[in-house]
Subunit: 279 residues, 2 copies
């Protein structure tokens, strides 16, 4: 294997009659890491610095869940259904054990995944996410709309406001991150549709309204919980709450950063993630 | 230099007429790390696994502050005065720049140190500690008394209850930690006196009553904040609050552990600390 994030071909695998798009790269005979994407994201929204960093030691698999990017079907409107799709995707690839890196909505999907199929999961990295029932995710749509308005006025990308802090250093990191997302030129993934975004918004709102912290105390897997210290999408305190609710979680909060802390501090994040995943 | 924690000789340096006891070990031409001790601690309360781990890459200096262990004088009853002593000690050694690792009370001393002499400090590691004004430290004495009673009843060391979680894994880590503290046989440091402990209790209570978060927003140095997820001495949430108040702090919370998380998870802590201190 090996290759790089910007050159890995988009492949498909049949998942119960639907073609799921994914890319695979990296090295090593260890357990592969499955990357579960954020709200509105497709394969090209993963930071090449993070993907290539992880791929230096691990086999890395990025996937578009149902209805997302080049994957067929309609996006379901619950985290649980998304997790069932992710499980089916992992099985379709014939994998017996995986690590999961879930970012934001993907972190919720990862939590539901490990509850549904604990034996499939070795370790989890949960970035910029929250346990079910915590306030925050239901605001994703108004927060997104406000960011789009601000971004249009300022001639910037909404992610400047959604994923980064207002500080000069964090905004410069946003520019660098957005530049990296443009590096891949061939075989780019279609953007998320409004239908998909609508279903994801519903799933996020249901996650927040869910009253169960949903068995986190039974997750025996080691977990690394990560966020920036100033997340306006999923409040940073939710990462603290999430780590406390898990019996075996390390928490890492990064300075001067927001929801996209793993991208802003990609070198530190990759070092900590590889350290955590190392056998 | 080099040598090991268990073999480093205890030296003294004159600090304005008082002999301060310290030990030095380690390697490298980088900025030395000064270790600032916890409530009731003397030189022999530092975990050899942590000290030797840091000393693999850094020059490490452990010190008994005024009135503590083999150091002369009477322990002052405020964190600010302890910090002034620590500053004077660093100057007496002729050091122009240092890194600080402060644990618990030592973490408060480190915060006061960097406010008093910001130009002396390059980076800070604050373990199991709190910002001024946060609830918790004033209970140190009743918490200590209760732990002594429980320990006497259970035939255990109070640190089993003060520094570790009640889980089987954390209690086993307590045994291992306490075993490491006994490894040094020659030239052991005198235990803290009741007079010293009394002054430290007063200092902790004043720290909690202090209303100022005391200029943390002006600390421009990089900081690594560390604690266990279940600290009964300085509540874990204070580490979260502390990291948020600092403009450039990484936060690391470790699973299944208490106040002494840096000792329980000494391998992980040393990796993260060396990564953080690396130039």
């Amino acid at each position: 294997m090996s290759t790089s994030h910007n050159e890995a071909p988009t492949r498909t695998v049949d998942v119960d009659g639907t073609a799921f798009a994914y890319r695979e790269l990296g090295t090593g005979s260890g357990v592969p890491v499955i990357l579960l994407h954020h709200f509105t994201a497709v394969l090209d929204d993963w930071d090449p610095a993070v993907v290539d960093g992880l791929a230096a030691e691990r086999r890395v698999i990025l996937v578009d869940l149902r209805g997302v990017g080049a994957t067929g079907g309609s996006t379901p409107d619950s985290v649980e259904a998304m997790a069932a799709d992710a499980v089916a995707f992992v099985r379709a690839l014939g994998l017996a054990t995986v690590d999961l890196l879930g970012f934001s909505l993907g972190g919720m999907v990862a939590q539901a995944f490990v509850r549904q199929e604990p034996d499939l999961v070795r370790r989890l990295i949960l970035a910029g996410t929250s346990p079910a029932g915590d306030a925050g995710p239901a605001n994703a749509f108004p927060v997104l709309q406000e960011a789009i308005e601000k971004a249009t006025g300022a001639g910037k990308h909404p992610k400047h406001f959604l994923f980064f802090s207002p500080t000069e250093t964090s905004q410069a990191a946003a520019d660098a991150f957005l530049g990296r997302l443009e590096q891949r030129t061939a075989d780019r993934d279609p953007a998320a549709t409004n239908e998909t975004i609508g279903a994801q918004v519903t799933a996020l709102a249901k996650w927040e309204r869910s009253s169960t912290p949903a068995g986190l105390a039974n997750v025996s897997q080691p977990v690394l919980v990560v966020n920036g210290d100033n997340d306006v999408m999923i409040p940073t305190i939710s990462s603290f709450t999430l780590a406390r609710a898990l019996p075996n979680a390390r928490l890492s909060i990064y300075p001067d950063s927001g929801h996209g802390a793993l991208f802003q501090h990609h070198e530190l994040f990759v070092r900590q993630a590889l350290d955590f995943l190392r056998d």
